[in-house]
Amino acid sequence: MNWFWQGRRIPLSWLLLTRQPVRLLVALAGISFAGILMFMQLGFRDGLFDASITVHRLFDADLVLISPRSASSVRMAGFPRRRLVQTLADPQVEGITPVHWGLMLWRNPETRKNRAILALGYNPDDPFFITSELNSQSQLLKQKGRILFDQLSRPEFGPIADWYREGRVVETEIAGNRVRVVGLVDLGTSFGADGNLLTSTETFLDLQPQKPPGSIEVGLVRLQSDANPIEVRDRLRDKLPEDVLVLTKQGFMDFEQNYWRSSTSIGFIFTLGAAMGFVVGCVIVYQVLYTDVSEHLPEYATLMAMGYRLTHLLGVVIREGFYLAILGYLPAYMAGQGLYWFVRDATRLPVGMNVTRAVTVLVMILLMCMASAFLAMRRLIDADPAEIF
């Protein structure tokens, strides 16, 4: 421990910061603001990408068939159902589930206003979801005109969940057809779909009579447990004609996320927003450190005249930047948590803190403060000890 006591010095950087509490607070407010901005923008971006596959994740499938004309979950095109049946010819395919998928106009039973909702139609006897609870709820759909409503849907669809829990019979219209809510499920909204409902193939086709019955939007393929999904996928791709696209489940989720990432400006906008936060933070920290160094220039020069090394003084400025980064990060982290909670509550998007983002923003703030400290240090080179006599 002896080296520690010998190495111990007056905590000059700390005192330089804390003896000017007003300036410190202004600096911390600026850094925290930049941090919050980054948390917010990155949170929105990740939340969007996560949200776009909340339903996809729940599918009980190893491979997924879609039409090559499909662009995303809100613009799914149909393909011949017999392509899905053809996959059964492969020895490692265990089972299939054809799925109808499309947006429908839901009438809010309270305000009688229409709004687009994402509807999934499937055979209630087919295994569809990875959770057994959802699969057993599916049995309720065997009667015609019954639906399961996603209680995480936006409130604009009406107080469906509340009414249902009160024991009322909840009925409304979809495309002029009467439907009854027979259960609630937890799926979650995405930027593309404000709400979800599940129903049987029969009901789905009743609600959308213009759809040809031999056409489906998504085909789920389950493989034997010892099968390698990638090998089977490649085999099926060779066998099936060009009018269908074979993807792994992960590939299906990537397909959806890639749409939002590359085909829309959303990903770019939020990344740019985070970059703006970074730049704003840089400017604020640089301003604070530069003023600080300028104001203390005679004192730094005095220290140099006393025999302190320039590198020692550079270290003081670097440490100031480091303290600012840590002190500014903590409130940004807390405010980030609060804002995520607020956004989750208001938009039902799965926006939350995760370790990756917490570390990313911490690294960004550190980078920001260090870069600013390095820039401000150039001012220190001007400290000429010969000038102070």
Binding site: Q6, E299, M304, A305, Y308, R309, L310, I388
Partner: protein, 227 residues
């Protein structure tokens, strides 16, 4: 090692370039022995401060030989000069205390330059020097709350806390009234004697000339007389 703390041989220094070039110091030769107190006087602008900064290794030597504490300064690099400065105490016209540090911490910034001492030992050293300049009851005050004389005394304690072998002072009494100024200079001399440290002090103050072992007058960049 020689007995001389400072030895200067035909030192010339000028500022500016081309037609603006102006010689500030002309062919100066001077020696200061260890433990000697030398006072340097002269009208302002005659080059006293420049001489002080050259001896203090704050500027590079242009021509002439300057040896300070056994170190040849001509052609000495930044690092060598910085190392030498650790052994020289400097007291400035303005006190130049660090505003964010207490009196004790300011003095400790000087003591921190001493190698191989624990934090506690350095802090005790700082307190001891503040006691020596009569400020042991002002340890935790910021420079802001100290009077001019007190600040100057803190600056002296800071310079002495690094155990210098040479002390350079530029008008240390300029900001002080006659009584305090006198006290400060007496203190300087006593402390310097105790540590056998050479002192070179620039001053305009006629009231303190008697503390000197030797008085040097300067005019227009040359030394007039050595009394």
């Amino acid at each position: 090692m020689s007995t001389k703390a400072v030895h200067i041989q035909s030192l010339t220094h000028s500022f500016g370039r081309g037609s603006m070039r102006r010689e500030v110091l002309k062919n100066i030769s001077l020696s200061i022995a260890k433990g000697e107190v030398v006072l340097l006087t002269g009208p302002s602008g005659c080059g006293k401060t420049t001489l002080l900064t050259l001896i203090g290794a704050l500027r590079t030597i242009q021509s002439g030989d300057v040896t300070v504490l056994g170190q040849e300064l001509r052609g000495a690099g930044r690092r060598r000069r910085q190392q030498l400065r650790r052994r020289i105490g400097m007291i400035f016209q303005g006190h130049n205390l660090l505003r964010c540090l207490t009196a004790e911490q300011n003095v400790q910034m000087g003591a921190d330059l001493l190698p191989d001492l624990s934090y506690r030992a350095r802090r005790d050293q700082a307190r001891q020097w503040l006691r020596a300049v009569g400020l042991d009851d002002q340890l935790s005050k910021l420079p802001h709350d100290l009077s001019g004389g007190q600040k100057q005394r803190v600056a002296i304690a800071r310079a002495l806390a690094a155990n210098p072998q040479l002390l350079l002072a530029d008008e240390p009494t300029a900001a002080l009234d006659s009584v305090t100024g006198r006290d400060v200079v007496e203190l300087l001399r006593k402390l310097a004697r105790d540590q056998s440290c050479a002192v070179l002090m620039v001053t305009h103050d006629p009231r303190i000339l008697d503390v000197a072992d030797r008085l040097i007058q300067m005019e227009d960049g040359t030394l007039l007389s050595t009394v």
